[in-house]
């Protein structure tokens, strides 16, 4: 074996005005990871571009391409190498990239899903209590029986301000994964970008519908499971195995790539009642607006002085908060 026996970058595309350098990394004999840039960053424009290119790739109907799995800055291509050669697949991705010289023209279909949320509901509180009892009695993120105090502390804000931030931004789905029906939701407004560490060690149980945040990313738990995100409340079902409700007639999943989620505060009673109307009576009407994201408009807004100043102010608070909050 040669000196570069661990080289995994099969090919690259150079950086352009509207895009980072692209790296094609090998990931076994049936996968290639397409990575945007060498730096670990979570910027929505990378995702906008990748999702648009992803549609072009899927539109080619390549025989042997099984699926694509976008993350926020990487796309994983799953293929059968006995049908589709790796270099042919890379060639097809390059072609798709070249066909899109600028991100300015990217317009993504993006529904806005309104989800009712009850902060500090009793079911999610049970998960925190169970964790304190069975996993880590001295967990500093669970002081006072919930995670919101800790979340606020980490970000140098009050609990009330923290709630306002969670409700004050749309959350963009860069792509699904992890657990059935799961979506990775990122804040569109950097002034509301709450950042928190994950549980250490993770929980063994979380109720269906619990809403949590880990790092900068929100996850709504689809079924009862373990988990490591800090919990702030409970929302309504976003997944249904039985596919009984009309929303799930084509499959058990609510979220689509590039959807946005906006939470609005309701009482716990209201959230609990909706469970019955989704799973049993199947007559709950989900509030979903058709819509789109125009990359150019978003990036201009994101880069505006007002947004950037607000983001910088939050970052300063977070730097202070991180010093004070106990490490997990």
């Amino acid at each position: 074996m040669s000196k570069d026996k661990y080289d995994v970058i099969l090919d690259t595309m150079p950086e352009t005005e509207s895009r980072l350098e692209i790296l094609f990394r090998q990931a076994g004999d049936g996968f290639i990871q397409v990575e945007y840039g060498r730096e670990q960053r979570a910027m929505l424009q990378d995702s906008f571009r990748m999702l648009a290119v992803n549609d072009i790739i899927l539109g080619k109907g390549l025989q042997g391409l099984i699926e694509t799995v976008p993350g926020i800055r990487t796309n994983m291509l799953h293929f059968d190498p006995s049908v589709l050669a790796a270099d042919k697949l890379i060639g097809a991705v390059k072609e798709a990239e070249d066909s899109m010289p600028t991100v300015d023209d990217v317009v993504l279909p993006s529904r806005l899903i309104h989800l009712p949320l009850a902060f500090e509901d009793s079911e999610t509180k049970k998960a925190v209590a169970k964790y304190l009892k069975e996993v880590r009695p001295d967990a500093p993120n669970c002081a006072d029986g919930y995670n919101l105090e800790y979340m606020a502390m980490c970000n140098g804000v009050t609990v009330d301000e923290c709630k306002k931030m969670l409700l004050g931004t749309d959350w963009f789905n860069s792509g699904g994964g992890f657990w059935p029906g799961g979506a990775f939701l990122w804040p569109t407004d950097p002034r509301c970008a709450v950042v928190v560490p994950k549980y250490n060690p993770p929980r063994t149980w979380t109720p269906e519908g619990a809403a949590g945040i880990g790092g900068p990313c929100v996850f709504t738990y689809t079924t009862p499971t373990g988990g490591g995100y800090q919990l702030f409340g409970r929302t309504i079902p976003v997944f249904q195995f039985a596919c009984k409700h009309p929303m799930f007639k084509d499959g058990p999943f609510l979220y689509r790539n590039a959807d946005r989620v906006r939470f609005h505060e309701v009482s716990e009673k209201e959230v609990v009642e909706i469970y019955g109307h989704v799973h049993d009576k199947t007559d709950y009407v989900y509030e979903i607006e058709e819509g789109e994201i125009k990359a150019k408009e978003y990036i201009e807004w994101f880069n505006s002085d007002e947004v950037q100043q607000g983001a910088a102010q939050l970052k300063a608070k977070q730097a202070e908060g991180t010093k004070k909050a106990p490490r997990l």
Binding site: Y6, G28, Q40, A42, I66, H78, G177, F178, C217
Partner: protein, 327 residues
């Protein structure tokens, strides 16, 4: 039909290649953990090699046939008997209504046995597959392991039972079960120089690690790696540990996650996306060996392999799991 008397430690309905196309929906492929065991059992009874069969993990499974069938048992030898009489493995044989089949426990090699029935297991396909995802509790037989009183139905055989009986494998087609598994692997996507040191990767590819007893159908855990494995001091925006990165999709089955200092091989029911680096992938053609590695007993070693070798191995395996392997 098969009436379950004792589900054993864990017996699941699994097919192959499992539930493909839903990684982005958070659903791993599941499927038979040892696809060679299932594939050969299917070939022996005249089924397509990916048809669903029963995956018997650990042993103690016991059941009664209510009709005449042709069956085959492969994988690890759990000393199967029918009505108390030992039956040969890797041979198709006829069973009659009222026959009771019983498995003991694993011997010194292997961890899973496969029971295929001519006609396959008749459970509804869920999202395109009959496989059980045990952690998500969906697919297969009600999304769960078989328990006493369950009645498992079978499909129609491909030929009359008489012509399917007595089929055997060529001796060279028998899979070899060992205690130290050599898994061919391709480095990536996160390796040196940016994520791991060359010395770290050398260590990963040279050491023999015990399979930790906490391993299961979603994750096979190996012994911890030293901090010198990592080329970074932290994971930046991804998190405080150098194994952390911004969440990305996992190339499962077969991706080796580095979770903190613990390497975890993501297998049948593993998570499809997350925030840990992946240092290598076990090649598709060697995944079956992982399923026969017994947690707490067996060892694993990774062997560097190229894409070309891996693709050739896939083709060879396809031929292996076909009628070409019949004596």
């Amino acid at each position: 039909m098969l009436k379950i008397i004792n589900g054993g430690i864990e017996t699941l309905v699994e097919d192959w290649p499992g539930r493909l196309g839903y990684l982005g929906k958070g659903m791993s492929a599941s499927g038979s953990f040892d696809n060679v065991g299932l594939g050969l059992a299917n070939v022996l009874v005249g089924n397509p090699s990916g048809e669903a069969g029963l995956e018997i993990t650990g042993g103690f499974f016991e059941a009664e046939f209510t009709d005449d069938h042709v069956i085959a048992i492969t994988g690890t030898d759990m000393q199967p008997t029918i009505n108390g009489q030992p039956v040969p493995m890797y041979t198709s044989l006829k069973v009659s209504a009222g026959d009771k089949i019983k498995f003991l426990h694993i011997g010194t090699t292997g961890f899973r046995s496969y029971l295929a029935v001519a006609g396959g297991v008749d459970v509804p396909a869920y999202l395109g597959s009959k496989s059980t995802c045990i952690f998500g509790a969906y697919g297969g037989f009600d999304g769960r392991p078989l328990t006493p009183g369950d009645e498992v139905k079978f499909g129609a055989p491909s030929a009359d039972l008489g012509s399917l009986e007595g089929r055997k494998l060529k001796p060279e087609a028998m899979p070899e079960l060992v205690n130290q598994w050599v898994l061919r692997a391709i480095p990536g996507p996160n390796t040196c120089p940016d994520y791991a040191t060359e010395e770290g990767m050398d260590l990963l590819f040279s050491r023999v690690s015990k399979i930790q007893h906490t391993s299961n159908r979603s994750a096979y855990r190996l012994e911890e790696l030293p901090m010198s494995f990592f080329a970074r001091t932290d994971g930046g925006v991804g998190g405080s540990h150098p194994s952390n990165i911004i969440d990305h999709a996992y190339a499962i089955r077969g991706a080796l996650n580095i979770c903190g200092n613990t390497p975890i091989l993501l297998v049948a029911d593993g998570p499809t996306l997350g925030g840990y680096m992946c240092a290598l992938n076990v090649i598709n053609a060697d995944l079956w060996k992982v399923g026969q590695g017994a947690p707490g007993r067996d060892f694993m070693k990774f062997q560097l392999c190229t894409q070309e070798e891996a693709v050739q191995a896939r083709k060879d395996q396809k031929k292996w799991l076909s009628e070409d392997s019949l004596a």
